[in-house]
């Protein structure tokens, strides 16, 4: 009987110890939110030029500029 009680206590104690590590790991996990800069740039371009009046080169440059700003914003928020 005493052995059983000791075993049960030991089992519970070890279980808590194991769970404590898990809790610590969960608290240290980093949550990463990714922004699809390309899709956002495409959406922006279609909004400012819904009738395709910009040239292909102007469109490309707007996309590049938007993606550059979007990537910079991602780096800033990660810091």
């Amino acid at each position: 009987m005493q052995k059983m009680i000791f075993s049960a206590v030991a089992l519970v104690a070890f279980s808590f110890a194991g769970m404590a590590n898990e809790i610590e790991e969960k608290n240290n996990k980093i949550v990463v939110i990714t922004t699809d800069c390309f899709s956002a740039a495409h959406d922006y371009l279609n909004r400012i030029d819904p009738n395709n009046e910009l040239s292909d080169l102007e469109g490309a440059r707007i996309m590049n500029a938007y993606i550059a700003g979007c990537e910079k914003a991602k780096i800033k928020s990660a810091d």
């Binding site: 009046e53 080169l57 102007e58 700003g69």
Partner: protein
Amino acid sequence: MIKKIFIISLFSINSIFSQSGQVFYEAISKKFPETNENKADAYITELENSKILLELKFNKTTSYFAKTNLNKSDDYNFGEEALSILIGYEELFYSLKEKSLYLNSDEILVKKPSNHNWNISSESKKIDNYLCYKATCTESYTARDGKTKERVITAWFCPELPYSFGPLEFNGLPGLILELEKNGNKVVAKSIVLSNKEIELKIPNKKTITKEQYDKKIKENAQF
């Protein structure tokens, strides 16, 4: 038309007195109407509120067009960058004799001819107390959907200031261009300074390529 030519010739006499000049322009974005499909968001509002200060310097033979130092900021401003693209901003030298533009890009110069077929109208308006006349030209281009389209560029030039220069790549009118509209966006003169002293403007001595070669490089370097 004959009356117009006479007036322009009369004001051309002024050219013997001022050798050089400097014009400060402001580029302003058009407004984007809010619709049920396109709700305005922060980026569009930023573009609508963006303004860029630009400067044109000229002497008897050459002009130089660039952003002023007042625009320089350490932070990346997407609104200003987008507006620059929409008005077609480039740092440019223009040679009146060659009728050629030189785009100043890093280590190279991009040379392209400047030949706008201006249609001058009798429509006039005052810009900062200068009487200006309307001129339009059209340019063909390949649009984003692959179709060949034409867009109209509207310029307001002042014969009283008989210098065939203007902002961006536009010039060749019988008077200084004080206002330009392209894609609904405007470039408007804010101040004009004329001088009897010659402003020295030298086209840099760099490797020169054509516009076609330059455009190809831009497309190749695009991220998509």
